[in-house]
């Protein structure tokens, strides 16, 4: 992850951005922009502070604050309805926060649209895997890759040859990911035909196609059979070591996440972060046990 200042407006930008989020200048064509600085690696992958969100009179998030360091795998746990998914929705820009700030790789993403945040390098999955149902698995995987030629209508019509070559490269990449997830045999199935566990894996594959720097996974193994769930977690670790990405994982089975070798855990209850720390520290914490068992 490299960052620099936008040549036209001075706002901080990173190398995965296609255009400057504040002024819209074209960034990816200017290689001189990306001169590595020492301070860049220090920027946190994710930093959210004091997020409040109410739906009508229902106060769902009451000042959520959490952070993810680069290359870190962080768990976010809590009982049903405590606001984990809502936190994800706020981070990824799907719903606006009432107050508070979201920073992704040091860039203020509080008021950004989802696609702009995605272009910084944040990709997320959904709890209910929102795959594009009437499209094949392979086609599902070909939507997220960034900087595709044919996203512009002019290129889609005129640059047929370049498109064909790109298509081939993308399919190759998609199959390498499908192989990695061991689901390449369902590449031609409709996404609507998949089982729950397969959907989760395809969702994971889809998110990987977008070359994320920061991965937000909403219960990636819910409904996935035990051995497969372990495999998915192993894959997440493998991805971290191979690609150096940072990961924030929601999981509501506390025992499970504590055994899965995450670096840190945030525990939420009723819209607040109760405690955070290493899995060992969490195990010892009484607050957590009360949140889960008490009352």
């Amino acid at each position: 992850m490299m960052s620099a200042n936008c040549p036209s407006c001075g706002q901080k930008v990173v190398d995965t951005m296609i255009e400057c989020p504040s002024c819209g200048a074209d960034l990816h064509k200017d290689p001189k922009l990306w001169i590595k600085k020492d301070g860049d690696m220090d920027a946190k992958a994710l930093e959210i502070e004091g997020i409040h969100k109410s739906f009508g009179g229902f106060h769902v998030l009451k000042g959520v604050t959490l952070d993810v360091e680069p290359h870190e795998i962080v768990g976010l746990i809590g009982p049903n309805g405590c606001g984990k998914t809502t936190t994800f929705n706020v981070i990824s820009g799907l719903i606006p926060a009432d107050s508070g700030s979201v920073k992704v790789f040091g860039i203020d993403a509080t008021n950004m649209k989802p696609y702009q945040i995605n272009r910084i390098g944040l990709s997320r999955t959904f709890q209910n895997t929102r795959l594009w149902k009437d499209m094949t698995v392979l086609e599902n995987l070909l939507v997220p890759p960034k900087e595709q030629i044919g996203f512009r209508i002019r290129d889609a019509i005129l640059r047929r040859k370049a498109l064909k070559e790109q298509e081939r490269e993308l399919i190759e990449k998609a199959f390498s990911i499908l192989d990695f997830l061991e689901i390449s045999h369902i590449a031609f199935n409709y996404a609507s035909e998949l089982s729950g566990g397969q959907s989760k894996l395809v969702d994971l594959g889809r998110v990987l196609m977008s070359d994320p720097k920061l991965l937000l996974l909403d219960e990636p193994v819910a409904g996935v059979a035990g051995p497969l769930a372990n495999k998915v977690f192993n894959k997440i670790h493998e991805l971290r070591s191979r690609l150096g990405i940072s990961v924030l994982i929601i999981e509501h089975n506390m025992d499970f996440i504590l055994r899965k070798g995450v670096d840190r855990v945030f525990v939420m209850n009723r819209g607040e972060v109760l405690v955070s720390g290493t899995p060992l520290e969490i195990k010892k914490s009484r607050d957590v046990i009360e949140a889960y068992l008490g009352e």
Binding site: N118, R130, W132, D134, P144, A156, E167, F175, S184, A187
Partner: protein, 505 residues
């Protein structure tokens, strides 16, 4: 009192337990079973063989791009044969019929492709195709007849205007849910139609037009005067009873020009839309159709993607509208009548197969051809009408409903006062057509949701084969089936035992 209840319960029992049907089935089912078994024994192997051959060649059936293509061309040829074999008085009128149907088919195909881009691919439910086509028709008509602009330039300008209107329309409507968007598009179409009726400028069109009947008159298509004066020389083989005779004639019918020009335009529009929907942009559109928020979370600027497809789709519809203005030579509010436009385009869209541009052409052809047939039927009256078997059957059914059922329920005077004696009651063919189109829409939505040519799934077998080797895309089921068969082959005695066991029971 008691008797009534028991009667009611008996009827209820009849309906709920379906006793009549049960009895009927008891008697007939062994019969059917026998027939079924015999035919299965005789034809079954051949049928299975054919089925197997078909699916090895086209693994996705109707969703296979090659088979879809074959089906398209066969059906198109069939429809063209039906068109050419339509009865008509003489060679002159037959030519006019063929050319005008093809022109109309082109116009409706282009509108259906526009609708397909909006609704089939992007999930923007658009009931106002005629609004965008209307922009093209009114724009082209006004520019030509009121300002004397060149026809080709006027259609180009109208298309640009429609693109701008469509694009800007996304600003107020982009946050609307699909059904509310649909209502907005209906309203826009009606606004334009009413404007054609009441707006003084549109109503009179030009000074030359008749103030009494609203509309824009004197719309001349490109090269129309020249064409009607000179035309082209055509060759014709004429059957003389002894053999074929070669004859030449001068084709000055403007619909000939329009149909050729229209087919070229349609080909352009088709290629353009195919390029568009089979690109990463098109994939983003399909994603928007399936789940908009998920697409936005994967870095697609949903707003502008949607705005552009709205603009492009409305531009394409306007192209059809402009062609229509050329073909009609006159634009009045009646051409925007939903029953004669939007309704038919939707029928073509659903029948042809949504999210398949070839299906749009096929659907439009079927709808326009049947529209033409009904127009022909509507002109029949008196003895001619009596001779038409189809109309006689329809009239009989209609009389049965009105006279026998209606008369029994409400009394004889109920229909005689309004419709006259039973023998004079006839179906209005125009209404019959509209109800049949409605019926087609309902039936195909219920039973035939995918249409004749369904959407072709993205399965680039060739590229994948090259990249990964053959076995990769075989579905797990296929693989396991194969393994099962292989296992069976190696263990022959076991399978024989199974067979004898099955026979005993």
């Amino acid at each position: 009192m008691k008797k009534r209840v028991s009667l009611k319960s008996r009827i209820k029992a009849l309906i709920v337990d379906n006793r009549v049907a049960k009895k009927f089935r008891e008697i007939t089912s062994p019969m059917f079973q026998k027939i079924g078994n015999t035919s299965k024994r005789i034809f079954g192997p051949y049928f299975e063989k054919m089925k197997k051959a078909f699916y090895t060649r086209f693994p996705d059936g109707r969703k296979d791009p090659r088979f879809s293509n074959i089906l398209f061309w066969i059906t198109m040829a069939l429809l063209t044969a039906i068109l050419i074999l339509q009865p008509s008085a003489n060679f002159e009128s037959k030519r006019l019929l063929v050319y005008s149907v093809i022109t109309k088919m082109v116009i409706f195909s282009i509108m259906a492709i526009a609708l397909n881009l909006h609704t089939g691919y992007s999930g923007l439910v658009n009931f106002g195709v005629i609004f965008f086509a209307g922009i093209g028709a009114v724009g082209t008509g006004l520019l030509i007849s009121a300002y004397g602009v060149d026809p080709l330039l006027s259609i180009a300008l109208s298309v640009l205007i429609a693109v701008a209107v469509g694009y800007l329309l996304s600003y107020p409507t982009i946050r609307l849910r699909a059904d509310y968007f649909a209502i907005v598009t209906i309203a826009l179409g009606e606004i334009l139609r009413l404007a054609l009726i009441v707006d003084p400028f549109l109503k009179s069109g030009t000074e030359k037009a008749n103030i009494e009947s609203p509309g824009i008159a004197n719309i001349k298509g490109p090269f129309q005067d020249w064409w009607e004066a000179t035309g082209v020389t055509m060759v014709r083989f004429k059957w003389t009873g002894m053999g074929f005779k070669i004859e030449t004639y001068q084709e000055t019918n403007y619909f000939f020009f329009l149909s050729i020009f229209g087919i070229i335009l349609l080909a352009g529009v088709y290629v353009f839309s195919e390029y568009l929907v089979n690109s990463p942009y098109g994939r983003a559109l399909k994603g928007i159709r399936e789940d908009e928020e998920a697409v936005e979370s994967y870095g697609v600027d949903v707003f502008h993607t949607k705005a552009w497809i709205l603009g492009i789709g409305s531009g394409i519809a306007a192209l059809a509208g402009g062609l229509w203005a050329w073909a009609l030579g006159f634009i009045g509010p009646s051409f925007m009548n939903p029953a004669a436009s939007t309704f038919l385009v939707w029928a073509a869209f659903i029948l042809g197969g949504k999210a398949n541009n070839k299906g749009m052409i096929l659907g439009a052809y079927i709808i326009v051809l049947s529209d033409q047939t009904f127009r022909g039927l509507a002109t029949l009256s008196g003895a001619e009408r009596q001779q038409n078997i189809f109309l006689r059957v329809v009239d009989d059914i209609f009389r049965f409903i009105v006279v026998d059922i209606g008369g029994f329920l409400f009394g004889k005077s109920s229909y005689e006062d309004t419709l006259g004696p039973a023998s004079s009651i006839e179906v209005d063919v125009n209404f019959l057509q509209i109800s049949l189109v409605g019926l087609i829409i309902i039936i195909s939505m219920m039973k035939f949701e995918e249409g004749i040519l369904p959407e072709i799934p993205y399965r680039p077998r060739k590229i994948v084969e090259e990249i990964t080797g053959k076995t990769k895309f075989e579905s797990a089921q296929e693989a396991s089936q194969k393994a099962f068969l292989e296992a069976k082959q190696t263990e022959k005695p076991g399978s024989e035992k199974e067979k004898t066991g099955a026979n005993e029971t």
